[in-house]
């Protein structure tokens, strides 16, 4: 993956830049030591690394604004960073950039149960947002699997999803307001505890903008009352097609599960070997979870099992207790780890129309044969967000590149059937060059013009999202 050449003039000015940053931040908040900045050289797309010029760890909006003013003034690129769990290389630095990390900004600023929101600093981790309200019976709905580590800042930048978004939506549907610092240091408040915007929906635009329009320092998030209970049913099938058809039928029947998770044979076998959840030996497996009181759950699961029965499942296992639920979820939750035991893997994130599931799974199988690389599928079937895991060997020369080409073919396939390149992980550097497969030149140009409004000098996370060729002139200033 190509990155722009660092600007020699900026590299030469390192000590002046560091000195100016130190002057506006407390001791220890500027990290410039060559060994120490290595901690910021990559995110979870760890095949790509580059230590930044320096990293700063401001403690509040005022400090973020001061940092950005200086960088703006000196023409230094800035890469915002939450917890560095991006799978798309969104937080990857360049050698001439300043990493602006929000990890020290993790306070809860306000909790309001009557109006059902929480206001936090953006560095707070996803899980600890729920942690702040769960004793009182509330939770924050978007739940990426990385929720223990990832920050709200990164969630907003990537518009992250989770297992429960079929019912609760993704980050953008649960975000009420942000404090945003623009590249020139100006602080703006967008949204808040009231709903909708009086003018253009800038909040909706900021969410998912991958750190390219401004730095989010505070966020107002919707919190929801916890459901009375939740339980899944596990359904096994002897073909992917039938499992796919069953998903559509469940959705059509009027039951709205909170989650419909799908695993194919390679994943089932890997997790069985790794975590022993006692899954049936079959081609495809669905985990369908519903919420409510005990009686409501029984009723909904009953409906789902009725539908499933029509598709001749090889296994139909209704959870009756917390232990049984945990066992059903155990395999799904350890699927990534299990695949990781077999080999290195690359996790894709394309979305497809649910009705195309059988066709796309078949094509992925064929591509796997052609490339000679194994692949397992485990994903959110209710919303068509696929996560094919392509297995490769990082130590084998050329294998990563082969996996990347395979991945690109799969993502093009997703676009071809009416879907998209990324459902929740973001474009980052990883899918930058594939943007032309989903968008026309004019579509891309319209997006670049939006960035022009927020960041005319193109200093904020400039080498991401769009093909480098398309942004070259703008980045040159």
């Amino acid at each position: 993956m190509e990155m722009p050449k660092p600007d020699a003039a900026i590299l030469a000015q390192k000590s002046q830049i560091v000195a100016r940053l130190q002057a506006v931040l407390p001791d220890g908040a500027v990290i410039s030591d060559v060994a120490e900045v290595k901690a910021y050289e990559c995110d979870a797309l760890s095949a790509y690394r580059c230590p930044p010029l320096c990293a700063v760890l401001p403690a509040d909006t005022g400090e973020v604004s001061a940092v950005l003013k200086i960088c703006h003034d000196m023409g230094v690129p800035v890469v915002p960073r939450g917890s560095g769990t991006s799978l798309a290389g969104g937080a990857l630095p360049t050698a001439d950039s300043v990493i602006l990390g929000v990890a020290r900004m993790n306070d809860v600023l306000e909790v309001d149960y009557d109006n059902r929101f929480i206001r936090v600093q953006s560095g707070r981790t996803n899980l600890s947002v729920t942690g702040a309200v769960e004793e009182d019976g509330f939770f924050y709905a978007p739940d990426p699997s990385s929720q223990l580590a990832c920050a709200i800042a990164g969630n907003i930048a990537m518009n992250s999803g989770g297992a429960h978004c079929l019912k609760y939506g993704v980050t953008t549907n649960n975000l009420l307001g942000v404090t945003l610092v623009l590249m020139d240091g100006e602080v703006v408040e967008i949204g808040g505890a009231h709903l909708d915007a009086s003018g253009l929906d800038l909040l909706g635009l900021i969410c998912g903008s991958e750190g390219q329009l401004g730095v989010v320092t505070e966020a107002t998030l919707k919190i929801l009352p916890k459901p009375e209970g939740a339980r899944p049913v596990l359904i096994g099938f002897d073909s992917n097609e039938v499992a796919g058809a069953c998903v559509s039928d469940i959705i059509k029947a009027g039951v709205l599960p909170v989650a419909i998770e799908f695993m194919d044979r390679p994943c089932i076998e890997a997790t069985e070997a790794f975590a022993h959840p006692g899954y049936p030996k079959c081609e495809a497996l669905l985990i369908v979870e519903v919420e409510g009181s005990d009686a409501e759950i029984d009723f909904q699961l009953g409906r789902i099992m009725e539908i499933a029965a029509k598709h001749n499942p090889v296994e139909l296992r209704e959870s009756k207790s917390e232990e049984e639920s945990a066992k059903i979820w155990l395999g799904r939750k350890s699927a990534f780890g299990a695949m990781g035991q077999i080999n290195d893997y690359m996790c894709l994130d394309g979305t497809i129309p649910v009705s195309e599931l059988p066709y796309v799974l078949r094509r992925i199988g064929e591509l796997s044969q052609e490339y000679g690389l194994g692949v397992g599928n485990v994903f959110h079937a209710g919303d068509g967000n696929m996560h094919p895991l392509i297995l490769y060997d990082a130590n084998k020369p050329g294998d990563l590149e082969l996996a990347e080409r395979f991945g690109a073919d799969v993502l093009r396939l997703c676009v071809e059937v009416g879907g998209c390149l990324t459902g929740e992980h973001g474009v980052g550097i990883e899918k930058r060059d594939l943007m032309v497969d989903q968008f026309t030149q004019a579509d891309i140009e319209a997006q670049l013009r939006v960035k022009d409004v927020f960041d005319p000098k193109w200093l904020l996370n400039p080498a991401k999202v769009f093909p480098l060729g398309a942004t070259k002139e703008r980045r040159a200033g």
Partner: protein, 369 residues
């Protein structure tokens, strides 16, 4: 009048015009701005409906009624419950789906299912340069590129003319019930609604008007009965609780809330105010309104004011915004803080550099009288 039949023709038309355009969908409430009429009525029809994927795609000029009928035939619905403005505004015309998106119209279910923009998963549009553009698509999880879908929703035709819109739809419900509290004052009502919305019983509407506080529950019959019972217990401390479970009656009550029926055929200006719910009662006390309807648990206040009253001047320092929906003499949209106004103007200038699309509509434009 321009009446293109597809986006290509529309693109050429916009690129070719020299003067301003006024975009009209169903015209159930035409906007007052200068310019030739550009009607979307030539671009209509549902282009894709896949019930098993919960997705519907339609051209912008499609009548809302046609979309509702198609969904109903498969037992599905638009989650956000768009209102019908004709009663409130005393207007005619046929509301279009493009108009609903352009105005981000969302009804009582917004508290639970989100706004129009939350169900909107893709748009195609032609900007003020005449470029045919798209954002999003037909899948419900999509973070590829900037979310111009949200930007276009609620942009009132100032950034582009929508040609096609895609939605995530939801299953319709088996039945609905309404839990009713009587005689609460505004503050008690907002407290009762907060209690209900903060419960796990999935209230899909919370309104207060004319001395009645209404809480709607929807779903399978057994579950609606169960949750209505639990809410009755939960709210016992607020006074006598009544449960209405005739679905037709419940539907009619909520249609009245949605369309602000209490203001129909009444004189005066109509304002629509969005605030933090618990701020609403004090703010309302200072308005001197002739009537109010609280929706969204108090987060949305419809206020009927004597003609020509500057409601915004009476809001105090409460955070939120007020739109003038019926009446004139004031900017229709609440003025934005300077920073946001500058960004919005910058975006407008990028999408419509000649300033020809619905000029002035969002920046201080007036409503039709």
């Amino acid at each position: 009048m321009l009446k293109p039949v597809d986006e290509k023709e529309l693109g050429e038309a916009i690129a070719g015009v020299t003067g301003p355009l006024r975009i009209v969908g169903g015209g159930t409430r035409g906007v007052v701005c200068a310019g030739d009429v550009l009607s979307t009525a030539g671009m209509k029809g549902i282009t894709l409906y896949d019930p098993g994927s919960l997705t519907l795609v339609a051209r912008a000029g499609t009548p809302l009624a046609e979309i509702k009928a198609a969904l109903a035939s498969e037992g599905q619905r638009l989650p956000f419950e768009p209102m019908d403005h004709r009663g409130l505004l005393g207007s005619g015309g046929v509301p279009t789906i493009g108009g609903v998106v352009a105005a981000n119209v969302s009804g009582p279910r917004r508290v639970q299912a989100g706004a129009c923009r939350d169900s909107l998963i893709g748009v195609r549009f032609v900007d003020g340069r005449g470029e045919v553009l798209k954002s999003g698509g037909r899948v419900m999880k999509n973070v590829t590129g900037y979310d111009l879908v949200k930007l276009l929703a609620g942009s009132y035709g100032t950034l582009g003319v929508l040609t096609e819109v895609s939605f995530k739809v939801l299953p319709d419900v088996e039945t609905a019930a309404c839990v009713v509290l009587h005689g609460l004052d505004d503050r008690q009502a907002v407290a009762a609604m907060a209690r209900a919305l903060g419960s796990p019983f999935e209230v899909t509407g919370a309104a207060h008007e004319g001395g009645r506080t209404l809480l709607r529950i929807e779903g399978f019959a057994n579950s609606v009965a169960y949750r209505a019972g639990r809410l009755r217990d939960l709210l016992g401390g607020f006074g006598e609780v009544e449960v209405l479970d005739d679905p037709a009656q419940v539907a009619a009550m909520w249609q009245d809330v949605r369309d602000v029926a209490p203001f129909h055929r009444r004189e005066g200006d109509v304002w629509r105010i969005s605030v933090k719910p618990t701020d609403a009662p004090d703010m309302v006390a200072g308005l001197g309104a002739e009537a109010v309807v609280y929706d969204w648990g108090g987060g949305l206040v419809w206020a009927l004011m004597a003609k020509g009253t500057d409601l915004r001047a009476r809001m105090g320092d409460v955070r939120g915004h007020a739109a003038l929906v019926r009446g004139d003499g004031f900017a229709r949209f609440h003025p934005e803080p300077a920073g946001l106004a500058r960004i919005s103007a910058g975006i407008k200038a990028q999408f419509d550099p000649r300033g020809i699309l619905n000029a002035g509509v969002m920046s201080g434009g007036n409503t039709e009288s």
